[in-house]
Amino acid sequence: MRREGSPWRGMGIVFLKELSDHLTSVRMRVLEWLVVLTGIAAIYSAISQIREVTAEDPFLFLRLFTRAGNQLPLSFVSLLSFLVPLVAIGLGFDLVNSEHNQRTLSRILAQPIYRDALLFGKFLGGLATIAIGLVALWLLVIGLGLVLLGLPPSVEEMARAFIMLGVTIIYAGVWLALAMLFSIVFRSPATAALVALGLWLFLTILWPLLSPAIAAAFAPGPITSAGELLSQLGTQQAFARVSPGALYGEIVGVVLDPSVRSTQQPLLASMGLTLLERGSIPGAPLPLLQSVLVVWAQIVGLIAATILLFVAGYVVFQRQEVRA
């Protein structure tokens, strides 16, 4: 059975309405200030650190994003990985159930559009709102860096920073799709928000502690060789990657630091070990394309997670009864 007409009809209109709703909402303003203020604090503290430590670092500018300062022991990207989900959940937790509760859903769906258009428009409207905020923040950071470091970034640094921006938007998409799924499943916005926030806390705080323990349970015995150590680390990472935050961390860790050659390197380094590959010079910077290739699977993973969560919400929404 083929439906008549395009499922995209009306999507642009829903998109623009959602965007304007978000951009004028008090909620969005609060979330934006939260991100901007903590972001600036992180940059300030990173800059003071960078000034003390490095003088001849070729990728000094990128350190703005990754270096944790003394005052605030969090780098800019780890802050983002923590706060972006909060913003996405804040925007997404009542996207669909508020239409039910305001009793506007049946009236809107009685207009000549498909449900697809409503859902896509809402998702893209939320994502565009976050993207606008992130782009503004990103430009602010670059600007602060230019002024405070007095050093222009190289083309490659800009390209890497730009990829990091794109990945951050995709990362926001994962959480927005998750929040929207809950807003479809739960009729009460409060329940949807609590469940989404609970999952976020679990994945960002508890899961990183739990996943090594679970991985250890799968380990065959005490580690005796480098190979076993690596495979053990691999299992541990595989479990950690259930959390989108872990994927995001791996991606920006590699993209923003050309000296990182594999996603296991930071883990090994934290144990005081260095992985030496045959034919490579330790510490030599990786070309941009190679850096991206190292984390290509993770980037695709984030995109896939967004699509999967969106599709799950889509299926539930299509089968849902319109009446309240």
């Binding site: 059975m1 439906r3 008549e4 305001q102 506007t104 049946s106 809107i108 559009i113």
Partner: protein
């Protein structure tokens, strides 16, 4: 095009095996006001949602303006206006902004949009509050704003779900008058209500729902004849000689009761008011009052279920 704007044929909707709507069939003619009446939970809203393509049919077939709402929902929704049960609007937007959003979804161009919004708001007397947020609106104003949306759409069919529920008597009268105005413009109206007497006055034909089934369908007078038997009682107040005698000979009159000096009640199988008036005038009498006591839906409904109950008991 067919003379029927809505054709429902054996519509059935099952939720987990239980039928909420059970083989319901009816037709709505062009330019008619058709009422779906019955208690809450009898399946009226579900029937409406099936006609709009907002919920799938378990069985049966529906045609709205010649289109299948399941396969061509956009074609149906383009020409049908829908006022849901306790309609909602975006509280933080103004009345005009709410209409502007739906007008965009309908695909209206900007110039047409502004002109139609202004005209529709004027029709439902909301022009002064066009730029007020809907948050401040009363129930009646929201219902009227919902009607404005249908007017703006130039809908050929208006489907109104419980349009008068929760309204005070004054607001109800105003709304019913607006529904009549819709009919005058050639819009066919399907409305549902659990308040039988309120909507009796506007409906051309009604279907009475009970537990997912239509138990009675027709004009109120037809149903009255069907259920209450005898039909019409015409009260005549007239002065003259031998009037009772003459009135008894009017075709259709089955009995004449003398109710007082100059007052008689005619029991008839149809509305005999014109014939009775002619008879009085022909006899050289003076006619003061002529009224027909129409059967009320409430009465029909109650009597019908009493009869059903009696039959079940027997």
């Amino acid at each position: 095009m067919s003379e029927y704007v809505i054709e429902a044929d054996e519509l059935t909707k099952r939720y987990n095996g239980a039928a909420a709507v059970d083989h319901v069939s009816f037709k709505v003619s062009r330019g008619e006001i058709f009422g779906l009446l019955g208690p809450n939970g009898a399946g009226k809203t579900t029937t409406i949602l099936m006609l709009l393509g907002l919920t799938d049919l378990s069985e049966g077939e529906a045609r709205v303006l010649g289109h299948d709402p399941e396969r061509e929902p956009l074609a149906v929704k383009r020409r049908v206006g829908y006022l849901p049960d306790s309609v909602g609007f975006y509280d933080y937007l103004t009345a005009a902004e709410n209409l502007r959003y739906t007008a965009r979804l309908m695909g209206m161009g900007e110039a047409e949009r502004e002109q139609k919004i202004a005209a529709a708001l004027a029709r439902v007397e909301l022009t002064e509050v066009a730029d007020h947020r809907v948050r401040t609106f009363s129930r009646g104003m929201r219902q009227r704003l919902g009607l404005a949306e249908i007017l703006m759409k130039d809908a050929a069919v208006a489907i109104l779900d419980e349009p008068t529920s929760g309204l005070d008597p004054q607001a109800t009268l105003e709304l019913l008058e607006m529904i009549r105005a819709l009919k005058r413009e050639g819009v066919s109206v399907l409305l549902s209500s659990h308040l039988l007497d309120r909507v009796q006055s506007v409906c051309d034909r009604v279907a009475l729902f009970q537990s997912g089934k239509i138990v009675l369908i027709g004009t109120v007078a037809e149903l009255g004849r069907q259920v209450l038997g005898g039909g019409f009682a015409v009260d005549v107040e007239a002065r003259g000689n031998g009037l009772a005698e003459r009135l008894a000979h009017v075709p259709g009159v089955t009995a004449v009761e003398q109710k007082g000096p100059d007052r008689v009640r005619l029991l008839a199988d149809r509305d005999v008011r014109p014939e009775a008036a002619a008879a009085v005038v022909a006899a050289g009498g003076q006619l003061f009052r002529l009224s027909v006591e129409e059967p009320s839906l409430e009465m029909i409904y109650t009597r019908y279920f009493q009869q059903q109950g009696g039959r079940h008991a027997a």
